[in-house]
């Protein structure tokens, strides 16, 4: 550990009381053509080297002793790792941080990489929440998305997860896939809701620049689906989940009462978190940074004993205020004007007077005394609304 790796300010109690911990596993069987996360296939030797580096990064963290309320293994496909590898990483987290009793401990699973014994082992090493990447129950759409699993495997995985004893399960679905009809989407939603996962993440497909889909789009062979159809799909999701008893606590996330993702809430409530592994993002004491996205650099940095913070930024209060509103507006609970004003020492009421009036007039936000929330219409154009506070 070098001095460059130390936080600029001493870690405050307020920030370390309830950290979220994110672990990035950059491996998958095959990279999906729409995925722009740092991930890809790798051999066993490479994985072992990475796990060693990851553990070294966690053990070297200067926030040793801080409390953690959530642990989240994302990727990539963390379920691709063997249980021994996962357990060693979890143990490192547990050794360094004070994991709260009952902390939420999630692992993302690809339906094609799990079976009942594996799920039982995951439960055994301490995971209590599974995030299952279903994406769709239509095989042609799954194939288009380049997924390694089919719908039958997803259904099977669902039952195994329950059988393995997990009572907290979230599933992802994607809408807005080129070729997907509103009817296809309704059927996907119906099927998933019938399975009663505790939590749902419903994402609209974004064609990102540096992906296989992005390349096809540039060549003119692929295009984003019609804005109105995508909006219709989004609205259908809001209606059907509400009818099924789920609350849309965040723009893309829906949960049965009390089953909101605590890890997700850390991000949107602008609370501190630490990310470990390739390209993982952290937010602590008002500073945001990410780890390197280069596998070789990451391994090399760990060999030398310190992981370099990339693109570290510490926003001045005016921008930090805008950023917090950008994040909190995504939650159905919205933001408290006095709350954010107090945190950043700026009178948000005065600063955003006209913005708020215009947005209210256009029925994009609603105000209830001190609280500002997106309306249903506002949720559809959340990016445009949020941008106005930046």
């Amino acid at each position: 550990m070098t001095s460059a790796n130390l936080p600029v300010r001493p870690t405050s109690k307020a920030d370390t009381g309830d950290l979220g911990i994110y672990i990035h596993i950059p491996f998958c069987v095959r990279k999906c053509p729409y995925c722009d996360f740092v991930t890809g296939p790798a051999g066993e030797q490479e994985r072992e080297a990475y796990i060693a580096a990851l553990i070294s990064e966690i053990r070297g963290n200067p926030s040793r002793g801080a409390g953690a309320k959530t642990v989240y293994f994302g990727g990539g496909t963390p379920s691709e790792l063997n249980t021994g590898q996962l357990e060693s990483v979890l143990r490192a987290v547990g050794d360094v941080f004070e994991i709260e009793p009952g902390a939420e401990c999630t692992i993302e699973c690809n339906p094609g990489t799990v079976d009942l014994p594996k799920l039982r082992r995951l439960r055994g090493v301490g995971f209590n929440r599974i995030s299952l990447g279903v994406q769709s129950f239509k095989d042609p759409l799954l194939s288009f998305l380049g997924r390694i699993h089919n719908a039958a495997e997803a259904r099977q995985a669902f039952h195994w997860i329950r059988e393995a004893g997990f009572d907290n399960l979230t599933a992802d679905l994607i809408f807005g896939i080129p070729g997907q009809s509103l009817g296809d989407w309704r059927e996907d939603l119906e099927e998933l809701l019938a399975l009663r996962p505790e939590h749902l993440s419903l994402y609209c497909l974004t064609i990102e620049a540096k992906t296989e889909f992005g390349r096809l789009k540039e060549l003119g062979r692929l295009s984003d689906i019609d804005e109105d159809l995508a909006a219709g799909m989004f609205e259908l999701a809001m209606d059907m989940t509400a009818d099924a008893g789920y609350s849309q606590y965040e723009i893309s996330n829906y949960a049965l009462p009390g089953r909101e993702s605590r890890h997700n809430l850390v991000y949107w409530r602008n609370e501190p978190y630490l990310g470990f592994g390739l390209s993982a993002a952290s937010y602590l004491n008002g500073a945001r940074w990410t780890n390197t996205a280069s596998r070789a650099d990451y391994l090399e940095q760990n060999r030398r004993g310190s992981v370099v913070r990339c693109g570290e930024e510490r926003l001045e209060p005016r921008r930090a205020l805008g950023e917090e509103i950008m994040l909190r507006l995504r939650l159905s609970e919205g933001f408290s004007i006095t709350g954010v004003s107090r945190r950043w020492g700026i009178d948000a009421e005065q600063l955003y007077e006209h913005t708020l009036l215009d947005l209210e007039e256009d029925r994009l936000v609603e105000r209830d005394e001190d609280t500002v929330r997106l309306t249903r219409r506002g949720r559809l154009v959340a990016s445009s609304v949020c941008a106005q506070f930046l």
């Binding site: 989004f234 997700n264 952290s282 154009v381 990016s383 445009s384 930046l390």
Partner: protein, 604 residues
């Protein structure tokens, strides 16, 4: 130093032609053959001084060059070739340079034959009592048909075709014969060397060291350095610093004698002090009266010019100042627009003049410009009896205060193949024309004369004519006068707010079509916003066309990028950054490109 020749051995002539018939090439050959410029130094088309002219193949600015020629009769002659611009926008300048000559070489393309500008130029030459030497050029082309063209010259132009010479300026064929004809057919200048000085200014250019260089034709008397001269129209007086001739570069001379053509510099800084057409006289012994034909040219076409980058405003002002030094017909005054911020209202002789100025501003001064719809000058009589000249929709009076609106009309001449009579007639009818006459000028060519509102010609008239006649029609026009019309200002409103730069004045019959076109284009290019946008075209409070842009329905980043909030925020900041470069009308943000494309529609 050029030796002066007796007045009887001076010939002043010009070359007139329809565009592309070979005027500049012929000028080059004449210069080359008389040795004014050595062949290897010749750039093609020496007379066209500006690169822009060279590129567009048209002459914008005139030049004059002295050629020394020993004719077959063994005598030495001084030939002054005065070049003329070939476009209708510069009719007045053409008429002044023609007035400086006694003869004109009329160049007619052996393939194309007589065209509209040929006709207009011949009329101008005849008005100035010039002797015309018809030359059928490009006889080397496979499609050349000199016999047919001869007939056209005889029938359309009423010129004795036995006087026609045949040449190929490009191949150097028939050039000597033209020089001989200039010497023997063109009269020598007739002025009096003893009379008080009268010299006509037919062009000028600005030199950063010497000031205005005036191009003059000495009609009476002699012009010498040291003389005190007076401009008879402007009253400006100054002392002559120097005189000289163009060969074609400037060469000093001791004097300019009666009948000669050359340049004068006299420390004149303002082009307004020395306008084209003005008469220069001896301040100590002034002439009784000026030479006829002077008038101050008035801009006919106006538009707003704005720098795309607002910071370039001072550069634009400086550029206009510099262009005006060489171009007395260009006018400009600052104006502001809510949508385009700071710019200038500029006046031009015509559409081509405006295009040339815009192109020079962009090319020579590296400015990126936005031009608003061109407008003519309307004459509006108000209910209280006052008459106002309006060249800018922004200054259009309220409807209730208007008693009468008059607009400029032109007499337009179209020469076209018989097969496209219908197309020409339809176009002129669409453009609110009044038919005057039609006559056949050959077996398959017809001369059509219409009276057209000038405003209608500004809107891509010539391009449309060309495309509807597959390129065969030629067109020219001359100012006729003002006539009343049902003219209205059409406002374009976005969510109720008028967008000043998009409003235009138009005839009631055309208001709907144009208003609808602009509204439709806006609908197409305006990005969806968080609220619905209403686009209206309206005359006063009456809406004549309406469009709507629905509110943005979906724009949401679904993912949280694995907690990479910075990335997410930067994405949104980028969205917002893009908006800073937009023009705001009320709460509606209009990207610059969208604005430009709408202006383009407005200009068509």
């Amino acid at each position: 130093m050029p030796s002066s020749r007796p007045q009887a051995n001076i010939r002043n002539f010009c070359i007139i032609a329809h565009i592309d018939h070979g005027k500049s090439t012929l000028a080059d050959r004449l210069i080359e053959i008389t040795g004014a410029v050595e062949a290897r130094q010749m750039r093609n088309q020496v007379l066209d001084r500006m690169d822009l002219e060279r590129e567009r193949g048209i002459t914008i600015k005139m030049a004059a060059v002295r050629l020394n020629y020993q004719a077959d009769d063994g005598q030495d002659y001084e030939l002054n070739l005065i070049d003329t611009p070939g476009h209708v926008d510069f009719t007045y300048e053409v008429s002044r340079s023609l007035a400086a000559c006694e003869g004109a070489v009329l160049v007619v393309d052996a393939v194309q034959g007589v065209e509209a500008q040929t006709l207009a130029n011949v009329n101008l030459a005849l008005n100035n009592k010039l002797h015309i030497i018809p030359v059928i050029n490009k006889i080397d082309l496979p499609a050349a048909d000199p016999e047919r063209v001869k007939k056209e010259i005889e029938e359309t132009l009423l010129i004795d075709s036995s006087e026609c010479l045949q040449a190929s300026a490009k191949q150097g064929i028939g050039i000597e014969a033209i020089l001989e004809a200039i010497v023997h057919r063109t009269p020598a200048p007739t002025g009096s060397p003893e009379a008080p000085l009268r010299a006509m200014v037919f062009d000028s250019h600005f030199d950063p060291y010497l000031g205005i260089i005036a191009y003059v034709r000495v009609v009476d008397g002699t012009l010498r350095p040291g003389m005190r001269i007076r401009m008879m129209a402007s009253g400006f007086e100054t002392e002559v610093d120097g005189v000289g001739v163009f060969r074609p570069e400037m060469v000093s001379a001791d004097d300019l004698a009666t009948g000669q053509v050359g340049f004068v510099h006299a420390g004149i800084k303002q082009i307004g002090d020395c306008r084209v057409g003005d008469t220069m006289t001896d301040a100590a012994r002034p002439a009784a009266g000026p030479l006829p034909g002077y008038k101050q040219v008035k801009p006919m076409v106006f538009c707003g010019l704005y720098p795309v980058n607002g910071d370039d405003f001072p550069e634009l002002r400086e550029a206009l100042e510099r262009l005006q030094l060489n171009d007395g017909a260009l006018s400009y005054e600052p104006e502001t627009s809510a949508a385009l911020s700071f710019g200038f209202r500029c006046g031009f002789l015509g559409l081509l003049h405006s295009e040339i100025i815009q192109e020079r501003l962009e090319r020579e001064f590296n400015l990126e410009l936005v031009a608003t719809s061109p407008s003519v000058v309307y004459r509006v009589t108000l209910t209280d009896g006052t008459v106002v000249q309006i060249d800018n929709p922004a200054r259009w009076p309220e409807t209730g205060r208007i008693l009468l609106v008059e607009e400029p009309y032109v007499l337009s001449t179209i020469l076209a193949p018989t097969s496209s009579i219908g197309a020409c007639m339809d176009l002129c009818t669409e453009r609110r024309g009044v038919f005057r006459s039609m006559e056949h000028t050959g077996p398959d060519r017809v001369l059509i004369i219409w009276e057209l509102p000038l405003a209608e010609i500004l809107m891509d008239f010539f391009d449309t004519l060309k495309s509807r006649t597959r390129g065969y029609a030629s067109f020219d026009y001359d100012f006729l006068g003002y006539r009343p019309g049902d003219l209205n200002k059409v406002d374009i409103r976005i969510n109720g707010e008028p967008v000043d730069a998009l409003s235009f004045i138009t005839h009631r019959d055309r208001a709907y079509t144009r208003g609808k076109a602009v509204a439709a284009k806006l609908k197409e290019v305006l990005p969806r916003q968080l609220f619905e946008i209403r686009i209206q075209a309206a005359i006063g409070s009456r809406v004549i066309a309406a469009e709507g842009v629905r509110a943005l329905r979906k724009n949401v980043i679904a993912k949280c990028y694995g907690g990479d909030i910075t990335r997410k925020r930067k994405l949104l900041e980028k969205q917002k950054e893009g908006k800073k470069r937009m023009k705001s009308v009320g709460r509606v943000e209009i990207p610059q490109e969208a604005f430009l494309s709408v202006l383009r529609v407005g200009n068509e």
